[in-house]
């Protein structure tokens, strides 16, 4: 039993009949379709028609609905009409609440972004164009359902009426910052509002959320839990752990993938694999997957509600891909014109979530351009008022901030000897 020699003179144990010359291999490095200078063209995008995706019963087996991982759930059509089985048939009050929360989120983002540019804080991150994700999803959950967000779901807090002033206090690291000045701006946390501490380390919350849901199930509670992750962050191991644990223990959790197509300068093709959807990841875990137009408030609401009902019925987790577009830079430290066409956001065919919901309300005859202008104005005023209040507590660098001694507290429940001595050494 000796090795044969293959055509390259190397030893080979492959039977001669199957041996072949092989051409040299080459490394494929994928790249986005459009770079600065290119004209973005999304016409090749394969989007399901509004109303086309099927809506299974919540207790249908995951294996029976694999197609939904490749379709796109859409409710609003080009005229702002709600169509198809996923229409959540929301009352106008709820629609208006959603519109207002989205508008407020956008106004808040704009002010805080500007505040960073004015040197009032070190950093900020907007969710422009993605407001429907956090807002519609929060509305479709109970108020005491738990959330494990990323830094781009400020809309949860806003929808749950967490005080804007407290959010701003955090952004400013000022004397009333609920995070005591310890955290980078946007890293909110509030137990009362069911909003888990945002981590600077991507993806870690995704598998933690599954643990929270397991705990809720273990205790016979009836609260479920939702987690969010970015398209780029799905490449981390935590994503895999989350789906596996959620599947194995049938945890009552919504695993939301916010596919805004960018991860700083990296396009979604670096984490999605070979042209596949993110929702398709769920298939291998036996989890149902819904792929949703993330800029369609009604579709997002409906999918979330479906998944929440499924979780509440003890049927386990659902993976939801929210297909959207990051309309602005990654953060105040980013300049997207360096890596993508300037006008790509405008070219995005699924539009803007606020404009589309407003259009729907108008199509229903309960909203007008004047109403919309008034809402924009009202939100701006509300944000400005809050900002004034927050700035009275200080901005970064103003000196109005939590006591420096507090920096030595809370590492542990009780301060151990070494931290006490370090505080003494520090002289604060």
């Amino acid at each position: 039993m000796r090795f044969a020699t293959d055509p390259f003179g190397r030893k080979s144990n492959l039977p001669a009949a199957h041996r072949r010359n092989s051409k040299p291999l080459s490394l494929r490095v994928p790249a986005p379709k459009f770079r600065p200078g290119d004209t973005p063209d999304f016409s090749g995008l394969n989007l399901s028609a509004p109303g086309a995706a099927a809506r299974p019963e919540i207790d249908a087996p995951a294996a029976s609905m694999r197609a939904l991982a490749f379709d796109l759930i859409r409710v609003l059509d080009a005229n702002g009409q709600a169509v198809g089985p996923w229409d959540p048939r929301l009352d106008v009050e709820t629609l208006k609440r959603g519109l207002k929360a989205m508008q407020l989120t956008r106004a808040y983002d704009d002010r805080m972004f500007r505040a960073q540019r004015q040197g009032k804080t070190s950093f900020y991150m907007k969710c422009t164009g993605e407001e429907a994700v956090a807002v519609a999803q929060t509305l479709a959950l109970h108020a005491d359902d738990m959330t494990f967000p990323t830094y781009r779901q400020q809309g949860i807090l806003i929808t749950r009426d967490y005080p804007l002033v407290d959010m701003m206090n955090q952004i400013y690291s000022n004397a009333k910052d609920p995070m005591l000045g310890r955290q980078l701006p946007v890293m909110y946390a509030t137990r009362e509002y069911g909003f888990f501490s945002i981590s600077g380390n991507l993806a870690t919350q995704f598998s933690q959320a599954v643990g929270w849901a397991m705990a809720s199930a273990y205790k016979g509670d009836d609260r479920i839990c939702a987690a969010w992750i970015g398209d780029g962050s799905t490449a981390e191991g935590d994503f895999h752990h989350a789906l596996n644990f959620a599947s194995v223990y049938r945890a009552p959790v919504l695993l939301n993938i916010v596919n805004n197509q960018w991860a700083i300068s990296s396009f979604a093709g670096l984490s999605a694999g070979d042209g596949e959807t993110f929702a398709a990841r769920a298939i291998g875990y036996g989890l149902p997957a819904l792929r949703v137009d993330g800029n369609d408030f009604l579709a997002v609401y409906a999918a979330t509600h479906w998944a929440a009902e499924r979780a509440r019925a003890n049927l386990g987790a659902t993976v939801i891909e929210l297909f959207t577009y990051r309309a602005e830079g990654h953060s105040t430290s980013d300049d997207p014109s360096k890596y993508r066409p300037k006008d790509e956001a405008q070219a995005w065919p699924l539009g803007d979530p606020i404009a589309r919901l407003a259009q729907h309300l108008m199509a229903l005859g309960t909203w007008s351009p004047a109403d919309q202008a008034a809402l924009e104005k009202a939100c701006e005023v509300q944000v400005r008022t809050a900002q004034k209040q927050a700035e009275a507590n200080g901005v970064l660098g103003s000196g109005q901030r939590p006591s420096p001694a507090s920096m030595f507290e809370g590492v542990y429940k009780e301060q151990p000897w070494h931290i006490l001595r370090q505080r003494q050494e520090s002289g604060v």
């Binding site: 137990r191 643990g211 989350a242 644990f245």
Partner: protein, 332 residues
Amino acid sequence: MIQALNSALDVMMARDPDVLTFGEDVGYFGGVFRVTEGLQQRYGATRCFDAPISEAGLVAAAIGMGAYGLRPVVEIQFADYIYPAFDQIVSEAARLRYRSAGEFTSPITIRTPYGGGIYGGQTHSQSPEALFAHVAGLKVVIPSTPHDAKGLLIAAIEEDDPVIFLEPKRIYNGPFDGHHDRPIEPWSRHPAGETPEGYYRIPLGQAAIVRSGSAVTVLAYGTMVHVALAAALESGIDAEILDLRTIWPVDIEAIVASVKKTGRCVIVHEATRTSGFGAELAALVQEHCFYHLEAPIARVTGWDTPYPHVFEWEYFPGPARVGAALRRVLEG
């Protein structure tokens, strides 16, 4: 020590419905070292269960459960396999209280067998305690007897902060003083082998003087406590031996009091030397006792190599090496 740890879990699961435990093979099978044996039968599969082979996943699940309000105890099958969970432990569990200004905490316990002496080769023998001692927000506990193991594990589970609980697997079944060529001694013949029934706790952060002496202070923990005792006995040196029990936050008062008394110090651990926890101990001792020190502080440790299978006993810092260090420090 296995029974003592099992009893600690049993006691806590009986007392507190929010305590539950999971890990690889810990459910039906009761753990590869049998620490969770019988718990699934007693408390049901939702309180003691198998986890996927995903150390990061199971620690993350524990963090989520802790955020909910439970007190999960997870087992990492060997300390050598804790690294996949490193990010969840270091970036998440350790910092959660601080970063959220107390909104969320991580009252979790991570148990894991560690250390060598069982011919486990480089991936069943490691001692990673220093890596965790460096991380603000973690407590690190290492028992050296069944009695302590039970009391410390109960205290760890009751802690409101994350605890890394390292179990010296070489002494799971009996004290081991490094004389691998002698017959194995069971815990039943050791005074601290006996474990009181029911609930008791040994507070974290308190060292124990396991041998009083005046010539030199030995700082040790885990298996090395027994090695140090043997070295003292065999060398006839009047060593005072401290079992740190909690690695961090360490019992600085006990250390300083002893070294000020003896004027000399030997530190013993099994982990690789460089940047090991012995370095911190040496730094602390010289900071606090400089003017009392009569000789350089000596470190007796594992060598700065992976744990080599066939050189188990050349690698293991046994009583001969500790004895030599004691003599050196006395001569110093």
